[in-house]
Subunit: 196 residues, 4 copies
């Protein structure tokens, strides 16, 4: 993917610093220092702080879309698809916590400021998820008296809440916790929180 070794090192360093300090408080010098390269080299590979950030964010969106598209065309049941989506976020968090943190704190919340560009990404994300919900309704698995928009928002909101809590608390996810979370979210989302 990355042709160059140093590029990767810089991106990884950026991932850490952006996560620790947030985009606005990240200094290019910090990234260079953390990457163990000279100041100028960061600019040799990335035209600006914004470009470097965008490279990271694009990487995220790319993985997310890929997963959603895979789920859409997969012939598994609706419940499994929803479980896979939750699993994606949790596995991603386990594998690349910095990337997920940045998504939560810098992208999903502040996409207001990255007008147009970022907002469009978000709409795609929601649309792809909504298509899965619509399919679930058509198949009679999901209730149809509630608009698919609602189902989408509630489902994704629930995931984001879990991820956010982990991000804010800088928590770790064990495999066990992951499975419990997948189960809990799916269960409540599908069967409801009410007793009986």
């Amino acid at each position: 993917m990355m042709k160059n070794n140093k590029q990767e090192i810089i991106v990884d360093a950026a991932l850490e610093v952006f996560r620790d300090k947030g985009y606005a408080n990240t200094r290019m010098a910090d990234i260079a220092r953390r990457a163990g390269v000279s100041y100028g080299l960061v600019y040799h590979y990335f035209a600006s702080k914004e470009v470097l950030f965008d490279v990271i964010v694009e990487g995220w969106w790319g993985r997310l879309y890929q997963m959603l598209k895979d789920e859409k065309v997969s012939d598994t049941g609706c419940r499994e698809k929803l479980e896979h989506i939750i699993r994606f976020f949790l596995d991603m968090y386990a594998e690349k916590p910095n990337l997920v943190s940045i998504f939560i704190t810098e992208v999903s919340r502040s996409s207001v400021y990255h007008t147009a560009k970022g907002l469009a990404k978000f709409r795609s994300f929601f649309s792809l998820t909504e298509e899965i919900m619509v399919e679930g309704q058509k198949k009679g698995f999901l209730r149809s008296d509630i608009g698919p928009h609602y189902l989408t928002y509630i489902f994704l909101g629930a995931i984001e809440a879990f991820i956010s809590v982990m991000v804010l608390g800088k928590e770790e996810v064990t495999r066990e916790r992951r499975d419990r979370t997948i189960n809990g979210v799916t269960e409540v989302f599908l069967s409801g929180a009410m007793a009986e």
Copy 2:
């Protein structure tokens, strides 16, 4: 609450600018200009940009806690309490969209970086909500095979997703839409998304 007229004007201006540009991209000069005052005056009332931001954020937390405490001691049923919480966010958004925007886009984020201070606020918010969930479980209204943490995250995540979508899209909430949303979220949260 505010003793002084100019203070209020400045806070309102700050609310607008923070919402439009985000904390990091807000200039004290922007706030002064939008308030129509000199920028020495902003400093006359507020010691720093951070203090001004905190005043706004404190106002938000105050209202939120008050509402949650009121709900906790109220003797209405669990379903009503949950509905009230959703309504609070939607009404708040209708009344002070900038305040809610800032909460969504800036507060949760700053919690990550300004640890301690902001994180504690967040935990209180979750705790208060969780207490309502625990009460619902004790009363046998909510299922007990799922930890109250889970119920809380899912419920609040769903609300946040709705609010976020409105914030990001700068949408308006009509009374009708509000009621539909309250109903939709409550219904799915309590009864689940599955058909039948």
Copy 3:
């Protein structure tokens, strides 16, 4: 003209530094230091290095145009008008050597400065002078077998050469030298360099 005292001080300092080092090698810090003000104050009054430079250059063009317009409508003879033009440059050099230096070294050539904006200024300068030449031809004072363009270029070129030599050599102009120069240039331009 300048409402503000500090502004003037900064412009004067800029005049000196631009003259000494040229636009490209001038540091905003140098200007601030030479003006005896803080770094930020320069930016308080002038949005950028370029703006500060333009303010200076505009001042020059303004004076130059004014003089040329005055000469055009004056009812003195052609010889006197030409003498006045030469005198303007020499007096200006005596009064504001830095301004004239900057004009010669940074404005009058500088392929950089000449992008539309500056080029138009130059054309006006030449046009106004040419009108005086045309008038001289009409009145039968100047020969008409040579196009007014040629007369203009030769006349202005001669002046510029004198000024340039003074600028490059950082020479001073005494009143006597000024008068000798006015006379020499006028004499050669009008009567020619040939003996008899």
Copy 4:
């Protein structure tokens, strides 16, 4: 002259870029790109940006001096010598417009370049021309009531004005235009602008 092919290519590229952007705004990378070579190679042949520029400028001065020396020793009349000087500039502009442009915009002014080194070059240029004027005076061809300095400045100033106008307007010189210019300048310089 140039031993190496690549060297020439680089110099030609530099000529173009220096002309287009001016010395200060020229990047070594621009030159390398325009030459179609890597930018390590530029340093392989030329120790620094300044050296590369000097090579170009030296080439100019060399040709100019050679021409002036040739004229000095030639046994043609003064009028012919002056015509040859004008022709040199115009032919040079036709043949190597970039070189002449650079001379006009970057060398002949530029307080920066003129630190001793450049100033001396200039004085030589003026001296050589002045010698021709002195000779013309001695022979009784040129008037002697005007100092040779004056004649030199006026003559060279006139040429420079013509060249400058072409450079700034990026105009072309046809053979016809060249001859008209030579004639016009010589005529006015020698016989004066006055009618009769």
